[in-house]
């Protein structure tokens, strides 16, 4: 089948899936809003190729820092957005108690280990969890294999949780920067660190990056919106904005809560997991509160549908069998993604983005561990 025919088929499937989802959840205002946010998020990720591994590979392999700058843009926009929401909800941040639902997790060596596992999993499987989800819309045959591995990894994560909780997580500090620095101090520190990270990258921007001088015709604009990839900075601004809106209206951005919830209930009913996972539900994060599963399922459903439509319209749908050897690595990588995401209480979306935007130390620690592990393994060529 030709790419354009496949594209139209993909887009039509996406529209049909979206209509079905809307019929299923449209009557519930909360779920409908989650679905809409998921559509926006999936659209933005696909259009701007907001995939953490691709971003890193561009920088590590090709010396192209634009994707990483897009990620830093997302964090900066979201950090400011979250601070605006926090200021309204908790006018005095120094008082005890954390802002509701914000992904502020315990910081310990388990979080570092989880970040490293997740980073290696990204390299081996070819993407992070959100990347695999939007790749489903591009016809990736690695994505479903990786996501099966992620489900199994979640089960293993739940199984190892009680021992790790007893050993270290129970006493691990839960650090929210505004508790110690106030909102202004926390904002200054976060934005300052983001600027410091961006500075060396800005020096390496490829040449010929000047703006379009001539005017754009309507077909040009449509082409740029629907066919060409969006620049990473634009994706970053959109991700930061969607992250803020998600926190304000529903719950912090995250893509693993539904997956983790399903794995948890399946594991419990198969007798693979203990009935109670000590301490887990006292934290806010992905996979901790079984009640939130439905909203996250609507969000992820919207995300995948939108990526089908976006990839379809752009003619970016294709099926390529990567070979059995590669698929085994994909499965193993997916497993590490799931194990890491469970123990970190979220993935690159739920912890790196939503945690860092929320001024949680856990977001920074997980993000640095993940990106470092993925960089090293990329250099070692484990993504081959």
């Amino acid at each position: 089948m030709s790419p354009s025919k496949l594209g139209w088929l993909g887009a039509a499937t996406g529209v049909a899936a979206l209509v079905a989802l809307w019929l299923a959840v449209g009557a519930d205002r909360g779920l409908a809003f989650s679905l809409i946010l998921g559509v926006a998020f999936g659209w933005v990720l696909q259009r701007s190729r907001f995939c953490f591994l691709c971003i890193l590979r561009d920088a590590v392999r090709d010396g192209d820092p634009r994707g990483l700058l897009g990620l830093l843009t997302a964090l900066a926009v979201g950090t400011v957005g979250y601070a605006v929401v926090f200021g309204a909800w908790l006018p005095v941040p120094m008082r005890p108690g954390l802002p509701p639902d914000a992904h502020i997790g315990p910081v310990s060596w388990v979080l570092v280990l989880a970040g490293i596992a997740f980073g290696i999993g990204m390299t081996l499987s070819g993407s992070c969890v959100s990347g695999h989800l939007y790749r489903l819309g591009e016809g990736s045959l690695r994505a479903p294999v990786a996501l099966i591995g992620t489900g199994a990894g979640f089960l293993a994560g739940f199984a190892s949780w009680p021992a790790l909780y007893d050993a270290t997580i129970r006493d691990a500090p839960v650090v929210w920067l505004p508790h110690h620095l106030g909102y202004a101090g926390s904002l200054l520190l976060s934005l300052g660190v983001l600027a410091l990270l961006a500075l060396p990258l800005l020096h390496r921007l490829p040449a010929g990056m000047t703006g379009q001088a001539a005017g754009l015709s309507v077909p040009d604009v449509l082409h740029r919106v629907f066919r060409q990839r969006w620049p990473a900075w634009l994706g970053g601004i959109a991700v930061g904005f969607i992250g803020t809106v998600a926190y304000l209206r529903t719950e912090p951005l995250g893509v693993t809560a539904a997956l983790g919830g399903v794995a948890r209930s399946a594991g419990a009913s198969l007798g693979l997991l203990p009935d109670r996972l000590p301490g887990l539900d006292t934290f806010a994060g992905c996979g901790t509160a079984p009640d939130g599963v439905l909203g996250n399922a609507a969000f992820v459903g919207g995300m995948v549908s939108a990526s089908l439509i976006a990839a379809g319209l752009a003619g970016q749908v294709s099926f390529q069998w990567p070979g059995w050897g590669r698929q085994m690595r994909t499965l193993a990588g997916g497993f590490l993604l799931g194990w890491g995401a469970m123990l970190a209480l979220g993935c690159t979306i739920g912890v790196l983005l939503s945690g860092t935007m929320a001024a949680a130390l856990s977001g920074w620690v997980f993000g640095l561990a993940t990106m470092a592990a993925a960089s090293v393994t990329l250099r070692l060529g484990w993504d081959g």
């Binding site: 909800w89 006018p91 108690g97 509701p100 639902d101 719950e251």
Partner: protein
């Protein structure tokens, strides 16, 4: 009659006129003294029309995190059941000083009308009303139907914090402990030594019969199943309509009369931790106006763990047995 918002206080007159025909009719009608309904409940319509009244202070007690922050009734103060309405160290209700400081911060003065609402069918809001009644706050009412009804009607919500001007409210020195029962008060009933007191268990039939230890999804906090001997069972949900509002006074009277509770004898209500039974306590004490109604807030999680007390366990469920 209680299907409609009922207005008794003279200062509500103007607001009632603003509400139009139905409310005006209700407002013009003197409330029936024996029900006391008007002093206990406000309707969503009434609250929407009186939100700007500086004498009205609204408090939300919701148990799910983030609900208040993502949209609450404009001007409401957020009160946490876990932090503000109970002692966070001992198992006890919050102290007089704690409640007084909280109400001062919420802008409650001696002549304020305090309207409380929340999620979960006002369970925790009703706990708040009970605690405020114990500490002698003069005019405490529930929003009939709670948060669910306000949302279902698509009424205005706000995410903007409002700092009320703090007051110097002074609560009475002595709390009204006649509204509260302790383990020592229920034990004589269980031992058939206090036939004059009626005991009302408002948990689900399966909890009452001992088939289960706790409702689905809740931790088993008591290591024995069943109920306090002598207690009758009327699940709390029978007191409300599908939209979460309380049934009419006549319906409520008939409901509890069916199990022999008619206000002629003292009543003690209990549940698992005291939140659902606050709701029934409110119906019996504040809506029906029965004189001697106490809530046993220790409830089953205290009684079912107490050593050596008599228990009725018709289902015979054995703790820990497989």
């Amino acid at each position: 009659m209680t299907d409609h918002p009922v207005f008794t206080l003279p200062r509500r007159g103007l607001a009632a006129i603003a509400l139009g025909g139905l409310a005006l009719a209700a407002g013009a009608r003197p409330s029936s003294a024996q029900t006391g309904a008007s002093e206990a409940l406000v309707s969503t319509e009434w609250l929407a029309a009186n939100l700007r009244d500086p004498k009205v202070r609204v408090i939300e007690v919701s148990v799910n995190p983030g609900l208040f922050e993502r949209g609450h009734i404009p001007g409401a103060t957020n009160v946490s059941w876990h932090r503000d309405l109970v002692d966070t160290v001992r198992r006890d209700i919050a102290s007089r000083e704690q409640i007084q400081a909280l109400l001062r911060r919420a802008g409650v003065a001696e002549d304020s009308t305090v309207v409380i609402y929340g999620d979960n069918n006002n369970w925790f809001a009703a706990w708040g009303a009970w605690v405020l009644d114990i500490y002698g706050v003069k005019d405490v009412r529930l929003l009939d139907g709670g948060r669910k009804k306000w949302e279902a009607e698509g009424r205005q919500v706000s995410t903007r914090p409002v700092a009320q001007a703090a007051t110097t409210l002074e609560l009475p020195a002595q709390p009204n402990l006649a509204l509260r029962a302790r383990l020592a008060d229920v034990l004589p009933i269980a031992q058939s030594q206090a036939a004059e007191v009626k005991l009302l268990d408002i948990r689900s039939p399966d909890e009452y019969s001992g088939r289960i230890f706790a409702p689905q999804g809740f931790q088993e906090l008591a290591i024995r199943a069943g109920h306090i001997p002598g207690a009758v069972n009327v699940p709390w949900g029978q007191a409300v309509r599908p939209d979460g509002t309380f049934k009419s006074v006549d319906e409520l009277r008939a409901l509890y009369a069916g199990v022999g509770i008619d206000g002629s004898k003292p009543v003690i209500v209990y549940c698992r931790i005291g939140e659902r039974s606050s709701h029934t306590w409110f119906a019996l004490k504040r809506l029906l106006g029965y004189q001697n109604v106490r809530q046993y807030d220790g409830s089953w999680t205290e009684y079912g763990n107490a050593v050596g007390v008599p228990i009725s366990n018709p289902a015979g469920t054995i703790w820990g047995a497989t």
